[in-house]
């Protein structure tokens, strides 16, 4: 790399990592200040784990993310299998468009649109509050599933379509062929898709904000409420923890993906 390129990349990365560095450093600040570092301390971490409300929100977030991941992975994997084999060009185009919508549409519109529908239906049934864990779960599954499809579909397309046929040729039922042959082939895509769904759900604020019930607070929503007031380094400690959890998950997903593409390369070389 040329020197100029190195300098340019360095500047960009400084810009990208500045706030993260600030967060990390000040989460260990002894004082309450977010701009003057006084002394190293883990007291904000300790305090964080004493904060019942935040821990409850953390639990909520994890429960929501896990449920949304399970449902969207299942829904998305089967959808990808179906889309991959669609013969009708019309149906395929329709499915692609519908899958694109939650990814392209601004989050705020996705959130508002779901909220309006839930509120309307709630009113129909005379419920006083129609937003709850269920509505949030639906919202999360809705925006996570396209990402699962996006990860699984390429794996299906890379797969030789003759594989499931070969399995059936050798006596498998169509369902058996799926589990014995197709599933092992697309598993890496399913795993990376699931991880992606999990991290997206964990991190989502905007859509959750509009579809959250009053009794169900997730971490991003709690953080939003907290930043409306003065923020303490406790929140930075929280952000640091979430950050490293997400990072670990993504690195795992990267390893899975790399391993898979390495195998694929090996396979191609032989042909």
């Amino acid at each position: 790399m040329k020197l100029s390129a190195k300098i340019y990349s360095a500047i960009i990365f400084c810009f990208l990592f500045a706030p993260i560095a600030v967060l990390l450093v000040f989460s260990f600040n002894e004082a309450k200040s977010l701009s003057v570092f006084s002394d190293f301390s883990v007291k904000w971490y300790v305090e964080l784990f004493r904060d019942r409300n935040t821990l409850a929100a953390l639990k909520n977030t994890l429960v929501l993310a896990a449920s949304a991941t399970a449902i969207s992975t299942l829904l998305g994997t089967f959808a990808a299998v179906g889309i991959n084999r669609l013969r009708s060009r019309w149906y395929r185009a329709a499915m692609n468009t519908v899958t694109d919508i939650p990814m392209v549409n601004p989050d705020i519109i996705t959130g508002i649109s779901l909220m309006l529908m839930f509120v309307f239906i709630g009113r129909l049934f005379g419920a006083s509050t129609s937003l709850n864990f269920g509505t949030m779960l639906i919202a999360h599954v809705t925006f996570c599933t396209p990402y699962v499809i996006l990860q699984v579909l390429p794996k299906l397309q890379q797969m030789d379509n003759a594989l499931p046929e070969a399995a059936m040729d050798l006596g498998c039922t169509p369902l058996g062929a799926f589990f014995k042959v197709e599933l092992p082939e697309i598993l890496p895509g399913i795993i990376t898709g699931a991880i992606m769904a999990f991290t997206l759900s964990l991190d989502d604020f905007v859509i959750s904000y509009f579809t959250a019930g009053t009794g169900f607070e997730t971490l991003p929503i709690r953080i939003y409420a907290m930043t409306k007031k003065t923020v303490t380094p406790k929140m930075y400690a929280l952000a640091t923890i979430i950050f490293f959890v997400t990072l670990t998950l993504l690195l795992i997903s990267n390893v899975v993906d790399n391993e898979d593409s390495r195998k694929l390369k090996e396979r191609k070389k032989k042909k």
Partner: protein, 294 residues
């Protein structure tokens, strides 16, 4: 005779797709219809165009720095401001991101992977918190002004200016610009560049006549991916703009909090229609004038 055929007919595959199809209709398409439905009805769900007209006609007075007041159309102004800030942010992302993508695409394969991970990592820090972190960096008593103060400069008032809002948007959506451009540049056949040199192009000329045109699809998807979230964002301007630059996203949120769901829907509806039209136009222009853009 007609035969329904063996199990390989897509029946099983259609069955696999059915739950998602139903889900998409119920929770993607129908909600969008609800946006339109709310936008065109009043609190008793009677048809009205009032919400829409209100968006275009609502007026308010703003007080200028010299104390004079001017009457403006509130939401049109907010929309134009959102558009302006989003367009500037997108352009900044483009001019910062293209060289970055180019550097990445020309780096060694291992370096490429590392750089890509590095570019993406900030996206996994919670959006609210990283925006807040910028606030603590930039504010008058913040880190930068602290440093400037030590060498006898400043303070620099950044928070509460449009620059701060733009910085926030650029920071948040920068990766969305780099990644699509990078993926196109990385796939580009290096022989094409050699061919151009062979035909007498200098470095700049290769860039202008070969690399730029071929990377247009990446640029266009980068622009879309930055423009859409930055035009509809809320929160960034609340924090970095010190609440002075109300954006269209903030307007929707404000109406939601005030429980004016029908007007919130109207704003969302108008935003959606404008974005849809812009995307259609972009798609048309791309298909028509950009190689590989369909």
């Amino acid at each position: 005779m007609k035969s329904s055929g063996a199990s390989r007919t897509p029946v099983t595959y259609r069955a696999a797709l059915a739950p998602y199809s139903v889900w998409s209709v119920l929770f993607v398409l129908v909600p969008l219809i609800f946006v339109a439905f709310y936008a065109f009805t009043d609190n008793d769900f009677a048809f009205t165009t009032e919400n829409i007209t209100r968006f275009f006609t609502a007026k308010s007075n703003i007080v200028g720095e010299d104390g004079s007041t001017t009457e403006v159309r509130t939401y049109v102004l907010i929309f134009m401001r959102s558009l302006k800030l989003a367009v500037i942010s997108t352009l900044v992302c483009l001019f910062m991101g293209y060289p970055m993508a180019y550097i990445m695409a020309r780096a060694k394969e291992k370096t490429q992977k590392t750089m890509m991970t590095l570019i993406m990592i900030p996206m996994w820090m919670n959006f609210l918190i990283r925006t807040y972190a910028w606030m603590t960096i930039l504010q008058d008593t913040g880190i930068i002004n602290g440093l400037l103060g030590k060498i006898g400069l400043g303070p620099l008032h950044v928070i509460g200016t449009e620059t701060a809002v733009i910085l926030g948007m650029v920071y948040d959506y920068f990766p969305y610009m780099v990644l699509p451009i990078y993926s196109i540049l990385a796939k580009m056949d290096l022989k094409l560049l050699e061919a151009a040199r062979d035909l007498g192009c200098g470095s700049l000329s290769v860039l202008r006549r070969v690399i730029l045109p071929l990377s247009m699809p990446g640029v266009i998807s980068g622009v879309t991916m930055v423009l859409i979230p930055s035009i509809s964002t809320f929160y960034i301007s609340q924090k970095l703009g010190n609440g002075k630059f109300f954006l269209i996203g903030d307007a929707i949120e404000g109406q939601y909090i005030a429980n004016n769901l029908h007007f919130a829907a109207a704003i969302a509806f108008i935003l959606m229609v404008i974005l849809l039209a812009a995307m259609a136009l972009l798609k048309y222009v791309t298909a028509r004038f950009v190689y590989g853009g369909d």
